[in-house]
């Protein structure tokens, strides 16, 4: 795609970006709404991480919430008990989750498919258990309170909720850009090849192990970064920030938005969070509605919102030029078989 051509995807990106930028202004400075938006943006960053490993590489990592929790607790504990400043703590969180992902990936990624999912689920639970039981370090269920805001630069004061929102948004933009860049690069295509068929990818000379490991490390890094920001946004954190439920919620976000797409994570996160708020009066009962929605989405709409929009745009474009990023493939591939559908999502 050349820069001069107008594309619907570009318009979509612009619309989402504008909506996020203007959201706090139009909502009349309501503290609560702004808080929900900021928390949503931190989740969305983590969901971008999940997108790399699940959406692009096709590996279901259920340790994602755990790595998010590691990020949360590193920033939370360093800025309170050890009196560190925020930025170095965030850096530590990012480095630890990156290394943690890379190193644990050595073992985790020897397993395949459902074994990988079960393995990472166990990893996630172990992280959660350590965080919720290691009283002397993590304060277990009493949690960590008084997490520091990021130190400001000049006029920027991050204890202002609105400034904090734009800070998180900046990181979110970075996450989306990385996803975009990866997808366009050779690495992105390599990952998609692995998703489509690991054996086939190996047979054409792709180093499957290393690439999966990099994708996994990238995903945990995003989770750690998001967790670190989350700790600062919330100010108070508890073990629930590392729970497996969080992983499942993120799974829902990405599924609604569209696996493997650039805009999917942010669109999905905000739409589902909006639904959560909408059903808030029902508290836990919201899953009476949302549970079946997840199931229905996987069965009937596995591409998610952005995935379908992409395919739609791709169809329109292929009539003209026959090429486009959102190409849904030739018509015979778009049959009823969901398996083929999903593989064509990119």
């Amino acid at each position: 795609m050349t820069t001069s051509t107008f594309s619907p995807q570009r318009l979509g990106t612009l619309l989402v970006a504008l909506a996020l930028l203007l959201a706090p202004l139009t909502l009349g400075g309501q503290e609560y709404v702004l808080r929900v938006l900021t928390v949503g943006a931190t989740y969305a960053i983590a969901v971008y991480g999940m997108n790399l490993i699940l959406g692009l590489t096709g590996q279901l990592s259920l340790a994602h919430g755990g790595f998010f929790g590691i990020g949360v607790y590193i920033v939370g504990l360093l800025t309170t008990d050890y009196d560190w400043a925020f930025w170095p703590s965030l850096l530590v969180a990012v480095v630890v989750t990156a290394l943690g992902g890379f190193v644990s990936g050595v073992v985790a990624l020897r397993t395949r498919e459902e074994y990988f999912a079960i393995f990472t689920m166990a990893m996630g639970f172990i992280i959660f258990l350590v965080i919720s039981r290691w009283e002397s370090v993590t304060h277990a269920h009493s949690g960590v309170s008084g997490v520091k805001f990021p130190e400001g630069f000049g006029l920027l004061d991050f204890s202002e909720p609105i400034v904090m929102y734009y800070l998180v948004l900046l990181f979110l933009l970075g996450a989306a850009y990385v996803t975009h860049a990866v997808r366009r690069s050779g690495i992105g295509r390599t990952l998609v090849a692995i998703r489509t068929s690991e054996d086939l990818a190996r047979s054409i000379g792709i180093n499957v192990g290393l690439n999966k490991q990099l994708a996994f490390a990238a995903s945990t890094t995003f989770a750690g970064l998001a967790g670190g920001l989350f700790a600062a946004v919330q100010g108070f954190v508890g073990p629930s920030a590392a729970s497996i439920d969080l992983t499942f919620e993120m799974l829902m976000f990405i599924l609604v938005g569209g696996l493997g797409t650039v805009l999917g994570p942010v669109v999905g996160t905000f739409i589902v969070l909006f639904l959560f708020e909408f059903f808030q009066d029902f508290e836990a009962y919201r899953f009476l509605v949302l549970g079946p929605i997840i199931v229905a989405l996987v069965i009937f709409a596995p591409r998610g919102i952005v995935g379908y929009l992409n395919a739609f745009v791709g169809k329109l474009r292929s009539r003209g030029t026959g090429a486009g990023t959102g190409s849904g493939g030739p018509p015979e591939h778009r049959s009823s078989d969901t398996a083929t559908d999903v593989k064509e999502t990119l």
């Binding site: 699940l54 096709g58 279901l60 073992v107 020897r110 397993t111 395949r112 498919e113 459902e114 074994y115 999912a117 079960i118 393995f119 689920m121 166990a122 990893m123 639970f125 172990i126 258990l129 039981r133 497996i244 499942f248 799974l251 829902m252 599924l255 836990a284 009962y285 919201r286 899953f287 009476l288 949302l290 549970g291 079946p292 929605i293 997840i294 199931v295 989405l297 996987v298 069965i299 596995p302 078989d337 969901t338 398996a339 999903v342 593989k343």
Partner: protein
């Protein structure tokens, strides 16, 4: 020594419960190649439905478990039909995500009907017996005996009866079984129904010892995965051996090391076993 004997019996009782729950999971994996993440919530629902029949309706304990097993078998079949059948050709990640959706739904249902608070279910079987100085409650003995009986019946059903044999046939060769006239679809339903019923028996047996809560299936879900990974996915004897091994390891660790370690041992088992053998111990021929 007394403490050890006590823990040994506790472990055996827990092992019986784990076996019953894990066998359903391993059957489902064998037949449908699905790691059913919602299995723990079926167990949880089983406990609540047993509670409903026993406390609210007021039928005898054994009948309550039996009725609950029937109800859950129906729910299991519905789960297979509504959720997993439409996804039979989808990528493996989709089953797991759908199972998560079902899991959330079942938990919300239980919470909507019975509330989030813990509930107590008293068993009509009370009292205890002293063996080698250890106080063993009758409930635990009942659990072990029932588990052995149910496992025996199940083995007979799968090895000897025509319907049970279709399960094994499908596990061994899906295409071949279809060719000789076994309907994979019907066997899938049978398997899900059976698995849900077994999980209910497990839950109904252990409910008087533990408390009931909508989240009671969460930890069990992972433990049964640890068991079937230990015993080999799809293997029936493996699930039995794995169930007792994990239960004893768990009970002994929480007694002699710490409660948190006991809680974490299942996850350590998963991580260790898969780190050494990425396809699980005793994995049968590579299925891909």
């Amino acid at each position: 020594m007394t403490l050890f004997i006590q823990q040994l019996f506790d472990g055996l009782a827990l092992g019986g419960v784990y076996c019953l729950a894990a066998i359903g999971l391993t059957l489902i994996f064998g037949v449908l190649r699905i790691p059913n993440l919602a299995h723990g919530t079926l167990y949880m629902l089983g406990a609540y439905v047993t509670y409903f029949f026993l406390v609210t309706v007021g039928v005898p304990y054994v009948a309550a478990i039996g009725l609950a097993a029937v109800v859950l078998a129906v729910i299991g079949v519905l789960l297979e039909r509504v959720v997993f059948h439409p996804l039979r050709n989808a990528p493996h990640t989709h089953h797991m995500i759908a199972a998560v959706g079902a899991m959330f739904f079942f938990q919300a249902v239980a919470q909507a009907i019975w509330g989030a608070d813990f509930r107590r279910m008293d068993s009509p079987i009370s009292g205890s017996v002293t063996i080698l100085g250890a106080q063993i409650s009758w409930q635990r003995i009942v659990i072990v005996v029932t588990a052995v009986i149910v496992l025996g019946l199940l083995t007979w059903f799968i090895k000897r009866s025509i319907h049970g044999q279709t399960i094994e046939a499908i596990e061994q060769d899906r295409t071949g079984s279809s060719l000789v006239g076994i309907s994979p679809s019907r066997v899938s339903m049978l398997t899900f129904g059976l698995a849900a019923a077994l999980a209910t028996v497990a839950a109904g047996l252990v409910a008087p010892i533990n408390l009931l809560a909508p989240t009671m299936g969460d930890a069990l879900s992972l433990k049964v995965f640890a068991i079937i990974i230990l015993g080999g996915l799809g293997s029936l004897p493996g699930a039995i051996v794995g169930g007792f091994t994990l239960a004893l390891a768990e009970v002994m660790t929480s007694t002699y090391v710490s409660a948190a370690a006991g809680e974490g041992i299942a996850f350590a088992v998963i991580v260790l076993v898969l780190a050494i053998r990425p396809t699980g111990l005793f994995a049968r021929a590579v299925q891909r």
